[in-house]
Symmetry: C4
């Protein structure tokens, strides 16, 4: 095995022949799993936490209507006249008013004009009010779970670059910044390079190599971090050209972690650079500038800007 | 002490003579504790978080009925006529309507047809509404605690195998995968081998050995991880045959940890392979296959499939 | 500085001359702080989370009464007749019914017999209902914060002992077990020995030494862990007798950490053994016994039992 | 690169020429970011968690009024007479009573004197009660998120000092204490020294150096921790005078972490000492004193007191 090679990173050396990106630009793994039933792989909390807000509210509204309809049926069976609903105004009137009464009970608003007046309607209403509170308890938990979930808004530079390093070396570099106004500390980066190599049986197999970073961990992270891997003779990138990396479908996988002071929790972000997002012979422009008053500031819109450099 | 031996792993070298599995297939420890009172070892929150949903809802319903009955008694003592309940319809009618009024107050639905009209009924209702909100606050917390609890659905291969490694070595291997659709990172595995050995006093005692893994930690974990321990001369498994392991009641204990992106938390899973779940001379079949469009995918139903290999 | 000495452990080498225990039996530090104002050192959430349940419920009840009284005053000023309360029944009647109405509004039970009928009473009721929901939201959070707080119920052996180790060595040992039925993993122990030594200026000063443990970390922790420090020539205990330790007011400070599967969180516990809780020349009796069916079990009530041993 | 130099700490070597403090006295980074849109860098949860309580309650009140006004408009359109509001008392009377009814519905207080009596008013009320519960669910979550957020109240000594160490060495020291009554464990400190140095291109650039601490981690932290960096020949401070540090705009950045037993979580704090907060030739006075009963106690108001020492 070569230096720094990682044999099985969970992405598997046999995974992905060509044309597929390993990590999507949104940070999700581009992996399809089969062979497990829908129910086995499904977790309701996972689902309700991960769906969009639009979908969440539509599901909540549907659930609200369905549970009210279910109780409406019980009230109609028990007799809407026992809720004080006038019988001679027709069954649609009875049904609708039973539905509204159900909603008033489920939400515990209980106006009282329509109200349960015999044993059965009282029993149903007693259950419905109890269930209503449980339902809204679950909704409270889900809403809290959704919006208190640590969110990140990490910016990665558009390209990863091959820069000049020292007198006659090269470095692999990219930039990362926190687009939120939160304060981050103890930030960590792991980078894994991956490309196809001829396997023993003649087939191409995907290999993974950990890249040693100049700084893999920093204490404070308020500005822009230029992550730097020096391509010395120990580097798996040593001797590789950009053409090699394009030919071998190279992809650089990135895992970012930091402690976020607002969420008081460690947050994670993933990213990857594919062979077509690499730039050979460049350096990043300065992002820390001085304003007219002599105060320095960070210009995040310049974090992807490059200057050409002969390497 | 031999290489890699762990003397006291908390499972204790004196624990378990024969026939008992250390870790059940559900991940729980097969350990009975005595000598502490029921109340000392009982924690209500532990209990309510760990019981099944069915049991949880039955307990919630019972609690709802009991607390309403308790307040019903107070209202009956205070006089249901002060709630506006007609007295001449009998004590069953009074009792039931007091119960329904209690439920309307506890849930804060408060329809108002029946309502407190003197000081005592008002005082009871004031307390009940306050207590009701506290009770449902606790229920909200418990429900949130239950469904937001990090769940895992880890799949382990049916057998652990002894595979060929290199030219003339062997390896101990098993597979693990995440059956949920969540994304996991920074996955870690610890494996402890355990078997009986003759002790100093002639009795068999159980010994524990940490197995050094080729990769004990991986950065990304979207597919299937084939955990691999090479049986070199430093391995406690070196020179052991399958018959030895059956005779000595071997068991391989596994602790899995990973960061789960949906729960934004580290999740844990335990598992064990007993001597009758070991296969000598095998290799795992490929789980990463190519579909008709040339895209690779992971076939989780094949993760336990083996091919016979001479070792 | 001597081997393993820790100069400033946060407990301070100048702290505690004699007679005072550093860590109480309940795990709290026996340290009085002065020089900061009451308000600076006070955090309401800390307070409400740490007080006993009795005190918490008394405070909640008082708060409920006080907030209702405050709104009652507003209703009385606005005129209880606008709530539909009969004026000619006297001011006590008005006050009490305003109070009950306030409670019905704060809890959102809203029976409606008494209800706001002019602008001012409506405005007050609108505010009160909104505030009521916020108050109960805070109560919900506090209750959840209280009962979901990781609790531990660690048992430590009554004494720490000096046992025989190998042929002519000694070991410092104590035992720890989880009295709850929860499952713990990745348990860690840190032990710091502390005693008085003559300082440079002739005064006694307290010194702290980290004790190297045979196993400071174990993977699984379902039974009883006998924590073991071998007193070899590198140990700060080397050459010390029990009399020395009594004379020098020795105390052994213990910090325990483990991952608890029910709280899905790392839990902590502190403990200490003072010189009068040390036993010289002993060994712990077995806690893992075999029942009549040949199954082994852990007898936690035996974890402090000792046998005399010549050392 | 010099010993212990950190090239890019996320604060960037090119950041800050002169006159600007890197970390404010409140622990926030003194960094202005530009180039990202307001919406991209904005996270509603971040905002609502971080604003002051006053602002939070004003926003909550405004939101309460606005959402009620919105529903009032719907009721006015649907016809307030269908809520049982007398039409002939004028449109202000209708509007106000619709508003009060809306508040009664949103908060689920539902007195019932005013109540929905036709289909449209019932539909609006049904939605409003449901939305009201969701709104208060979000409020519950936010309130819980706000007050359960780990708070720290760390005291740092007013100055960092250069003290005598051993016979002819110096040490850089400062003090830290927990002003809360909570108990902290596993406290960690990281210190980064920073100053301007002439860069290659003649411009001054800011350099960062990690300071090696005598103890960077302590197990128990109940009193005052005097953090100590010995200025030996490996220290970046070796040979530097106070004048050098003033001239080079030195700043010492501090990151503190500890496990807090009340929040059952790791808490963080940041601080910095600037060149004008350094004292050359001093030692800290004792903070652990003995009271009249011979019991020692910690006097936190003395933690910044210094004695002059020739160094």
């Amino acid at each position: 095995m070569k230096k720094n090679e990682i044999e099985d990173t969970g992405l598997s050396s046999k995974f992905q022949t060509r044309t597929q990106r390993l990590i999507g630009r949104d940070g999700s793994f581009n992996v399809k799993k089969t062979g497990i039933g829908r129910f086995e792989s499904f977790n309701l909390y996972h689902y309700l936490i991960n769906i969009s807000w639009t979908r969440f509210f539509i599901l909540a509204l549907l659930f609200y209507i369905v549970i009210n309809l279910a109780f409406t049926v019980f009230y109609v069976i028990a007799g809407p006249e026992h809720l004080g609903i006038e019988k001679n105004l027709g069954s649609l009137h009875s049904f609708m008013n039973s539905f509204f009464f159900s909603a008033q009970t489920l939400t515990t608003v209980g106006f009282g004009r329509v109200n349960p007046q015999n044993a059965w309607t009282n029993i149903i209403a007693t259950l419905e009010a109890g269930i209503g509170l449980m339902v809204f308890a679950v909704a409270t938990g889900l809403l809290y779970g959704r919006f208190s979930r640590p969110a990140t808004n990490m910016m990665f530079s558009r390209s990863a670059i091959f820069a000049k390093w020292g007198d006659n070396q090269r470095a692999f570099q990219f930039r990362v910044a926190n687009a939120f106004t939160t304060e981050m500390m103890d930030a960590e980066i792991q980078v894994i390079a991956s490309w196809l190599e001829p396997g023993e049986d003649g087939n191409e197999i995907r290999k993974f190599y950990a890249l040693k970073l100049e700084y893999a961990k920093i204490v404070f992270f308020p500005t822009v971090w230029t992550v730097n891997h020096v391509i010395d003779e120990n580097s798996p990138l040593f001797g590789k050209t950009l053409d090699d990396m394009i030919k071998d479908e190279a992809e650089f996988l990135i895992l970012f972690k930091a402690y976020d002071d607002t969420f008081t929790q460690t947050v994670h972000a993933r990213f990857s650079y594919r062979h077509d997002e690499l730039v050979w012979g460049a350096k990043f422009k300065r992002v820390i500038l001085i304003d007219e008053k002599g105060k320095s500031f960070v210009s995040l819109d310049k974090m992807s800007e490059l200057e050409k450099v002969e390497i």
